[in-house]
Symmetry: D2
Subunit: 270 residues, 4 copies
């Protein structure tokens, strides 16, 4: 790495002196604490502006929508980790956060980028359905999944989708990306040959991009939301532990498919 | 582990069927999305009740207060991690969350437990100053630090402390634990011999316990708050990377204190 | 933090220039690569000395003994994490490593510190049984578990214990801490009232401390060992995925113990 | 997820009963502990076979080569994390492991896949130079870096490269992928227009693929190796802490590029 000015770390997020802490140009104590809710502060941290009413309504709705959905894999991983290391709640939260990957919660960002492409391809006065059809066909040709469509449990549209769209409309959030998301849903049966409905991972970027949420922070929405849920589960784990029970159940009927030495009598495998 | 009923995992947080998701007894879509802010939902996830106005004001204020404080070590670790693994934002968030340990952000919980002890020792009509003195003296005798007092940068009281206390008073939050926190501050010079002022890690439990926030989830407040900040920093890192610059600066003047083989000419060590 | 010399980072582990990399005083390319096995290099990294034959035999034996034990909770957490985030193997490894906590693999270090106390309490010519009795009684009085004794599956002594002791004797490793470990086992029935046998977490420090392995790195032995196993499981996960199956099984019979809204028909909860 | 046989977790790595632990078909206590070194056991865990002499020599050499290179970013992240959470060494190791991403240590796997493509494109009797030229040109056209070539510090070939190649030849490991790696190096100046030399991330797969190491576990080699180094650094951190010093140095000259409120006097920013 070259030595010099270019290697000095720069940030536009925060600075401070002994008396004051400045965040995005505002005095933390005078202008932020007690004046802005936590959900809105997340927007402010990301963008440097306080969200307007639509942005606030939509962002808070998406964070609430995606935070909690029971004992999902990342919650299981977190609760097992806390059972093994009860003194280090941060480790259990981290183990849960690590489950926000491309397959699970990362679909929000992938879907958002997909919608953004369709938006740019269609242009301001273009045909969204045609652009959606092209984009879906391109993914199909590359044998890739359509990010944010289909759900193992909710075969009809995930109930959170309609609710997020309602909130977006009621708050007068921009509807462009909702239209794109529905255009994609509309062409999927024809192009893909299956009726994959919009799931919550597509609804989240659909409503957030409509209020100006930054594309490259989309992945952060499910991560922040799930962290709240992880902390609630870990708080429950401290009083009503199930970490080892989850692990026991997971492998109760496991099958060992490898070889065994002569004379080995199979037992429970774990 | 015994096989049987006792090993079935139980949770009181969430359940669902194909049409509905239930969180803490409420229908997620009907009663929560669009009806509750994210900060308040965190309280609901933890306790099963929506927070009253005082609890909401105080919890949101603490989350805002502790979220961001510049390029602190956990933000550095997260930004370095993203620089090395830009495709895995969850890994960078996790690396940052892992810095919420006993020394740094964990002090909120330790301070909360300390105040809780003083509260119970003093009893409803007892002498807080005397209980505080005993408790501080006990820590001193065990050569332990007083959790939540003193700050490397803010020698006077951290400015966030006064602001959190103001918010708590204005919202009519319970003042018992604020009084305990100040009682501890009052006896420290005498018992410890140094003038260590209340820092934000003590102010957080002081105001939160006064509105009924659960003691065993206190550690979760800085963790959730910092996750918001980590996401903002990682979003900045994606567009204005400093991860490697931080790392370069960190060791620019490092010293190697070990042996070297014959003929080795020292270079830059990293 | 004070500015000045004291804040310069120092390390005795490694330095380099453009042509050479020095580790613990040795030239990495000339003296280490191709000259030392990975297990022995771990010792060298920790201590700056190559292990003698006894230390090498014992360290490698402990690493082999503790690396793999099937689909244990941390392996489950890692495989679930990879299923969710298949592009980020490092995240799945990290999730598994986070399960090396005080309850599970951390017992090696706790047991080691416990044996070290007994060693120092007994002194060179002292009565190990008496010192062990005192130490066990002290833990009992504090209602703490005896670290490294008892196992949910192996009610008799874990088979790895005898094997590690054999290896230690055959390699002529020091037997002092093996004697201490057995002295503890001997007094447990009387002091604790249960016949808890030495498990592998006690056997590991018993043989390692006898060859001079550093006490404060004991926790690292199961962590390094398990990392090898995690990588093998994640390599299997990439070709024969079970991450979601584990998660499905874990909650197949889960029970929701909270309230539900009017008219809610229970379904599968996840 | 479908309910039924398909959801039963299967593994071919390990099983056990109350008396015996089986790993890859072998009895852990009878056949492995004390009979196989840790480096060789890693191979056995991955493949189910003990490595032959060439495979053992090459694998151990690569693990030693890549384990330690001073206070690199992931070591800094780990040491900062331990400073903040000294009770949770597993968290600090995990933070360090999370730095094994696509940009840093993941290049070993990317380079391995690249060599594998060239191998298959050239076929048994084909022209390696031509296949290498095509492959490099394809990456260039896609504006992608050549994985495993170039190094910020070692402008000439990284010294570990020659040493690993020597070990591979001395051990009579297969040279096919070494030839491929050198063919790539040979065409780079012409195709890329820069003289990027083989670095250690290319040398590792070059020698490992020649002894039959599984392609999909390549990423595991630097991760396992670095875990050994992380534990050594964290052990040093416990006795000679520099975590906060690293963090202080990293931001000593930081620049804040955002706005400030009226009257704010800049201080040290962290």
């Amino acid at each position: 790495m070259k030595i010099g000015k270019a290697t000095l770390p720069r940030t536009a997020i925060s600075t401070s002196n002994a008396e004051r802490i400045v965040v995005r140009g505002a005095d933390l104590c005078d202008a932020l604490i007690g004046h802005v809710s936590f959900g809105d502060y997340f927007w402010f941290l990301l963008t440097g502006e306080k969200p307007g009413p639509a942005a606030s309504a939509v962002l808070n709705a998406t964070l609430v929508a995606i935070a909690e959905h029971g004992l999902v894999p990342s919650v299981q991983a977190a609760r097992m980790t806390l059972a093994a290391a009860p003194d280090a709640m941060q480790g259990a939260v981290a183990a849960g956060v690590l489950g926000s990957g491309s397959v699970i919660l990362g679909a929000s960002e992938t879907a958002g980028r997909f919608f953004d492409e369709i938006d740019r391809a269609a242009g301001p006065s273009g045909d969204l359905a045609a652009a959606a059809r092209d984009a879906v066909a391109r993914l199909r040709a590359a044998k890739q999944a359509i990010p944010g469509y289909g759900h193992p449990l909710h075969k009809a549209r995930d109930p959170r989708v309609a609710r997020l769209f309602e909130v977006s409309k009621a708050a007068k959030g921009g509807q462009r990306f909702v239209q794109i998301a529905e255009a994609v849903e509309g062409v999927i049966p024809d192009v893909v040959g299956k009726d994959l409905r919009l799931n919550v991972s597509a609804a989240i970027p659909a409503v957030l991009l409509g209020v100006g949420f930054p594309l490259n922070a989309l992945k952060g929405v499910p991560m922040l939301a799930r962290t709240a849920s992880l902390i609630a589960h870990l708080s429950e784990e401290l009083t009503d532990p199930i970490g080892f029970a989850l692990s026991y159940q997971a492998v109760r009927e496991q099958e060992y498919t490898g070889a065994v030495p002569a004379g080995f009598v199979p037992g429970h495998g774990a």
